[in-house]
Amino acid sequence: MAVFVYAENINGVYKKAAFEAVSYAKAVADQAGDTVTAISVNPTDSSDLLYKYGASNVINIKDDGLKNFSAKAFAQAVNEVADGNTIVFPHTTDASSVAPMLAVMKNYSLITNVLEAPESLSPFQVKRRAFSGKGFMHAKAEGNGVIITVSQNAFGVKENAVSGSEEVKNLSVANEDTKVISHEQSSGKLDLKEAEIVVSAGRGLKGPENWGMIEELANVLGAATACSKPVSDIGWRPHTEHVGQTGKAISPNLYIAVGISGAIQHLAGVNSSKTIVVVNSDPEAPFFKSADYGVVGDAFQIIPALTEKIKALKG
């Protein structure tokens, strides 16, 4: 039976997490000797983008009632068209709201925060993130159907072009319980969980007025910005930037931590980053023990200098 995947879009445009989920679904389908069907709600992007990562069928749900997001209505819509025993979602905020509701509707097992391709398909067993990044769990699904959410930046986006076909499904799902009053999207800002490079800073920066150099380094690198918990608690940065055990868990390719000592709760949210660079004036900062590269010194001199050198590298 075909593997289904929920290809999330924002305002019709596919997210990177959608391509990663399709890549993951393709790996499952290859293991099972089957094909991938992607489901999307009101996309404006071309289905070619999904064929590129291995989806050979794309079901485009058209429903004016689903112009605004509602976890329950989206779960109902996906439930109507997902006719397979494996359904893959990205572990984004919206998709991980839909997946639990769909799991109950279908009476399927749900395994979230998945990191790798499955260890076995029958029963479905897979490695997932647990204990806020301080450990891993190998989870086994009971029963016939399984829904999984794939942790962002864990499996990666893998091109695997197939020839595909598209089907349009016109639905009219009732969406009466919730109504969007306002929607604020900060334009031009990289999504922290999707970013491949993250530049983060802590109390070592001494005040919010000093974040300009962090933003500049992030701009040069095409990175998102983040912060430690104390910094968001004091209000120097918005809590949406807080990475750590009670904030966001991220797994970028490169995490640069400036003036962050590296408390166990902070490490929990960032230690699945592939490469970690720590800049701190205190040579005893515990974060150095969990870093790949470290620079001991004054961030106010190091960061602007590093920014210039990276600018030069990028030409």
């Binding site: 605004n68 997001f69 976890a71 329950k72 905020t93 919206d94 991980s96 709201s97 839909v98 997946a99 639990p100 509701m101 799991a103 109950v104 097992s109 749900l110 395994i111 925060n113 647990a130 204990f131 806020s132 301080k134 450990g135 891993f136 769990m137 989870a139 086994k140 009971e142 029963g143 009466e176 319980d177 919730t178 969007v180 009053i181 929607h183 604020e184 900060s186 800002k189 999504d191 809590h239 949406t240 807080h242 055990q245 009670t246 490169l254 230690n271 699945s272 592939k274 490469t275 970690i276 660079v277 023990k289 870093a291 790949d292 590269y293 001991v296 190091i302 050198k309 990276i310 590298l313």
Partner: protein, 248 residues
């Protein structure tokens, strides 16, 4: 207004996480247990609604008797009463089923939860409870007001925020921002004393169906020793990131 707050008992955030020698389970030795920090935001929000709107706040926990100190702490923070479902929960589905069973006949206007627990990180219980009760669900909520039979919730979306109105009863999963960190309630002596006499009802589980098993667990492998680069030689750092790690 009646509010049900779902709380989970989890290892303190400073805990080192170890697994048993055969890697089949989390090693609970030496662990301090706390209310899941994300549930604490939900509980504090409920207490604020109790103060401003006279809401009655019940906390629910699915757990064995060992979780009672954490339930008592929730009562000390200000919940009116508590229910413990006597089951050592094995997965999100079994937990959600028990919460939904208690909620079914409770006539709650609002069910508040943290968006995930910091131990198993399933992030699935709130949405499952909502679906089992056929109620609307708002996840990752960073703001909430209640006005009669409607709530206005602010939810975090990638790169922004969305404000929505929700018909009650509903399930809302909160996170940091639902209340400010500084507004979290630390129980005072009066709260602790009164918690001892508040009702804590223990009910038996209605189902033992488990959909996901934890087969084995691994610790995070240690990283190789850090390479320290001199602050005077940032060219070397750039070279390492470009040529060795290949990340820039």
């Amino acid at each position: 207004m009646k509010i049900l707050v779902c709380i989970s008992s989890v290892p303190d955030t400073t805990s080192k996480i170890n697994f048993t020698a055969d890697k089949s389970a989390f090693d609970k030795n030496g662990i301090q247990w706390v209310i899941n920090p994300l549930d604490e935001f939900a509980l504090t929000k409920a207490i604020k609604l109790q103060e401003s709107q006279g809401a009655v706040v019940t906390v629910i926990n699915v757990g064995d008797a060992a979780t009672e100190p954490v339930i008592r702490k929730a009562l000390a923070i200000g919940a009116n009463d508590a229910v413990r479902v006597n089951l050592d929960p094995k997965d999100s589905y079994s937990t959600a089923k028990e919460i939904a069973a208690v909620a079914q006949n409770g006539g709650y206007d609002l069910i508040l939860c943290g968006k995930e627990s910091i131990d198993y990180n399933g992030g699935s219980v709130p949405g499952m409870v909502a679906q089992l009760l056929n109620q609307p669900f708002v996840n990752a909520s960073v703001g909430l007001d209640v006005n009669g039979s409607e709530a206005t919730a602010v939810r975090e979306i990638e790169g922004g925020k969305e404000t929505i109105s929700v018909k009650l009863p509903a399930v809302i999963a909160g996170q940091k921002g639902l209340v400010d960190e500084k507004d979290l309630i630390i129980p005072n002596m009066r709260g602790i004393m009164s918690a001892r006499t508040k009702p804590l009802q223990v009910v038996e589980a209605v189902s033992s169906e488990v959909k996901v098993q934890g087969v084995s667990y691994d610790s995070v492998p240690p990283r190789a020793a850090v390479k320290i680069v001199s602050a005077d030689n940032l060219d070397e750092l750039v070279r390492l990131l470009h040529e060795e790690a290949k990340v820039i």
